[in-house]
């Protein structure tokens, strides 16, 4: 996947050794996901699937799970997230990173840590409360100036942010298969980080019209437009908005 994953672990009642063991399992899981889904590695299962060398039932169960999630994300985004229409063939990378981070967090949660955060290249899955009763406070960066915070969000499960500001034109419009840049950045909160990641990507490609489609889902979104305007769906848990960000 070639991304940066950071962990923030509050072990609670666990000993340090127990918490480190859980971290080691979470890292092993990320290794395994990378081995399965890396499009960099020619012999990876996902590449064998892409080249038509292996049927889905011959591949690890995780590949099937991810395919299902990709299909779900496609339906939830009115087709704007489409892992099947990317240059080079089926590519679940836009969903796998968040999905893997969510599973790594699951390892920590299963081990019984009091609170934890897994941040995969800016897409964040959290568990528990970092301090007292307050939820994890996650800052969304200002697309016009990455050193600035646009707003802070109370996150209880996951948040993903996608945008055109850091990777250039990395969002592919499945209709035209060309790069699209409708909004500067989109952040999505909800239960599954993989889906949130895919939806954030879809909104950047499809624009603010897609916000309406989230109404019937457990996901909420916040969009920052190139002019600096911020729009959010009802229920998006914005904590504060800094002056000048809107």
């Amino acid at each position: 996947m070639g991304t940066v994953v950071s962990f923030d672990v509050r072990p609670g009642d666990l000993t340090e050794a127990e918490a480190r063991d859980a971290l080691a399992r979470a890292c092993t899981l990320l290794h395994d996901v990378d081995a399965t889904f890396s499009t960099w590695k020619p012999a990876s299962p996902i590449n064998r699937f892409r080249r038509g060398e292996a049927r889905i039932e011959e591949l690890p169960d995780e590949v099937y799970d991810v395919l299902e999630l990709c299909a779900l994300a496609g339906r939830m985004s009115n087709g704007w997230f489409d892992a099947w229409s990317l240059p080079g063939g089926f590519d679940p990378t836009g969903l796998v990173k968040g999905w893997a981070a969510g599973r790594a967090l699951g390892e920590l949660r299963a081990a019984g840590v009091a609170a934890a955060m897994v941040n995969a290249g800016g897409d964040i899955a959290v568990h528990g409360r970092p301090a007292g009763d307050r939820p994890w406070a996650i800052a969304i960066t200002n697309p016009a100036d990455q050193s600035q915070v646009a707003c802070v969000v109370d996150v209880v499960a996951s948040i993903a942010t996608s945008g055109t500001y850091e990777r250039g034109d990395h969002i592919i419009d499945p209709g035209t298969r060309s790069a699209s840049s409708v909004v500067a950045s989109a952040s999505v909160v909800g239960p599954d980080l993989g889906i949130a990641d895919a939806l954030a990507t879809a909104i950047v490609a499809g624009g603010v019209e897609l916000l309406a489609t989230l109404r019937t889902t457990p996901y909420a979104a916040l969009v920052i437009e190139h002019e600096g305007a911020i729009r959010a769906t009802p229920g998006f848990p914005v904590q504060v908005a800094s002056p000048g960000s809107g």
Partner: protein, 199 residues
């Protein structure tokens, strides 16, 4: 008197085991921010693989920057909230992020005050090929950003779009400029060196 690197390192090692570790997985760099229940902790960017972290979390390279509270307060004026705490000298440590696999080597200096991370800088980075350089380019700024974010009080972490080499570079340069424009008076000279291989 300016402490020698070895003495600084020894002082670091004498402190309680660090609770912040880093771990690397293939093609992926992980920074582990491990918060203890105890209020006092030191910070260390340690071994790249969890299985290979030294039991005491000891760093593998020498020297640590020493910054006074006054310098740090000045540096942080108008930026992030100053973190209150007993006045005491900061502690930092450097080590390799990737000492054991072919992506290259990096040394990061981290400054801790009152148990919070308040500064981080790359002091040395060596890459061996284009791929390692690419990984370094996106991972280093993230490491720095994550490290610094965990030292603020307004929020816990940052959600942002994924970095690419151009933006990583910009972000990295910005971070480096920001971090080295007001170097600690007694920081080692290496802390101000530009990053080899990233120009």
């Amino acid at each position: 008197m300016k402490p020698s690197p070895s003495r600084s390192l020894r002082r670091t090692l004498l402190r309680p085991a660090p609770y912040v570790l880093s771990a690397t997985i293939v093609g992926t760099v992980a920074l582990v921010n491990f918060h203890p229940q105890a209020s006092q902790s030191t910070f260390d960017i340690s071994d790249t693989k969890l299985a290979k972290v030294n039991p005491d979390g000891s760093p593998t390279a020498a020297t640590s920057p020493v910054t006074t509270n006054e310098q740090m307060a000045e540096r942080r004026k108008g930026e992030v909230p100053f973190i209150p705490g007993p006045a005491r000298t900061v502690v930092g440590s450097y080590t390799d992020i990737w000492p054991e696999h072919p992506f290259g080597k990096i040394q990061v200096a981290v400054t801790v005050e009152s148990g919070r991370i308040i500064d981080a800088k790359v002091v040395r980075l060596k890459t061996y090929d284009g791929r390692s350089e690419q990984i370094a380019n996106f991972s280093v700024p993230v490491l720095i950003q994550d490290t610094l974010v965990s030292g603020t009080t307004d929020y816990d972490h940052v959600s942002s779009a994924t970095y690419t080499s151009k933006a990583y570079h910009k972000s990295l340069q910005a971070a480096i400029v920001k971090l080295t424009s007001t170097p600690p008076a007694d920081a080692p000279a290496a802390a101000n060196d530009p990053l080899p291989g990233l120009s």
